[in-house]
Symmetry: C2
Subunit: 278 residues, 2 copies
């Protein structure tokens, strides 16, 4: 089974890229999209359905928006944190459409578009941290019912220095600040005791692990390049799109890779797909 994650930065603008990519990647069972930037009524479902895919969407006008494109029917589709968390806990964090999840072959696929956070200390930064805190509650609840969980999407966080093209201003940069990294690490540690979190030895015991890192320790692998400053040409990228797997799935993972090709097309998204196989 293959699951792909791709922030398309507008599904309407990137429609042919997405359908072309599915056709050249027929082994992908589920394509998780972020930043579809379209209300559900205007989502171009037909082009995917004509290729034989099922389409599950959770969108809004202009910003955010997530979708699942699947060869097989998905079950127990959930939109937003509110699907399983209390209204009170969710607060305003479902106003932005960033969470969709569903089940295929006993695996729950959770597709996320984590807030960008703008700049450290900003209101949006605080929103990002609050959002991640709620995500932790969402994961705790999800893991009560599932042992096979694939949490993927645009995390807008690079956990390790080698996931960024440069070391410059790393600590003061959005997507790599210590606080963001700590917060995400804490989120991924769901189910692990504080002591376990500090030990690298028991990675598979509980918590979620980065599928990409099962297969390589190398740096210099990126999934996002800023449109500005010719970043892609100069390979000034970041690895911020991830597949985090529950222990059982992590053990079963056979591959995880980044397909750089779509970033080379005309009018590309600034992100490129990341695929995991298990």
């Amino acid at each position: 089974m293959q699951v792909a994650s791709w922030n398309v930065n507008s599904i309407r603008t990137r429609l042919s890229h997405a359908t072309d990519w599915l056709q050249t990647n027929p082994e992908v069972d589920v394509l998780c999209l972020q930043e579809t930037k379209v209300v559900d009524a205007d989502f171009p479902k037909a082009p995917f359905e004509e290729l034989g895919y099922h389409v599950y969407i959770y969108g809004q006008k202009a910003y955010n928006g997530v979708a699942l494109i699947s060869k097989a029917t998905l079950t127990d589709v959930r939109m937003g944190f509110g699907a399983i968390l209390d209204e009170e806990a969710v607060g305003n964090l479902d106003e932005q459409k960033r969470v969709i999840s569903a089940v295929l072959d006993g695996v729950r696929i959770l597709n996320l578009y984590v807030p960008n956070g703008s700049s450290i200390g900003s209101e949006k930064y605080e929103y990002k941290l609050r959002w991640l805190a709620l995500l932790k509650q969402y994961l705790i609840k999800t893991l009560e019912e599932t042992t096979k969980l694939n949490v993927c999407g645009d995390f807008n966080i690079a956990l390790e220095n080698k996931d960024i093209y440069t070391d410059e201003k790393r600590d003061k940069h959005i997507m790599s600040s210590p606080k963001e990294r700590e917060t995400l690490r804490d989120v991924l540690a769901v189910g692990r005791s504080p002591m376990e979190r500090d030990s690298l030895s028991d990675l598979l015991g509980v918590g979620l692990a980065d599928a990409f890192r099962k297969f390589t320790d190398e740096g210099g692998h990126f999934s996002w390049w800023d449109y500005r400053a010719a970043s892609f040409r100069r390979n000034m990228g970041w690895r911020i799109d991830h597949h985090y797997l529950s222990p059982e799935l992590y053990e079963q993972a056979t591959r995880c890779w980044i397909d750089v090709e779509p970033r080379k097309l005309e009018k590309p998204s600034d992100h490129t797909p990341v695929i995991v196989e298990y």
Copy 2:
């Protein structure tokens, strides 16, 4: 010698259409562009120069703008009415960049983007009529020095009913109202006495004549189709782009035709080129 007129509705958006068209129409000596919609500093001259053309521009930000693209060097290039008319007479009518002219092989080519006029009775309508009145003065002065004059461009006026796809609301429609037609007919009658203007018999004596009408009386030939209402597919067009020739040139004219092909391209201009040969 061939001269083409084409309202490209943004030269930056239509750059490849324009360069492609020149390459498939190598017999065109001068391409007159309207609605270039770009300040001179940002006009994409290089792509034309790399094909061996000379570029003469008179543009502004966002609106209007005219240009001459020529295989040979042009002489006595003039921008705006103010190049030959008094400041007082011109008033504010050079604020919008709509007039460029130059000489090739003893022929003065005058490239115009006549105001659209918005709707009958509007402020813009009055501007259009005032602009045409000034054009008449400009032509009178020009004809004092030239016997070979080719006045071309987007006139935003269809002089005859057969130049429009329908008869509906013609009298109340911008581009076909009686007043606009009278005004343009009066402009074209430069040099003819009031009595001559009423006589069709002496068309070649003085004044300017429609090159396209030298070769056919047929209706249904159009140079512009509104982007809206699938006008092109339904051939709901207007012939509003013209080549008006002084008597000497009119006699020498060997062809005048509309090339509909560019209107069929992806992201086309709403206008298509009109070419005259003499």
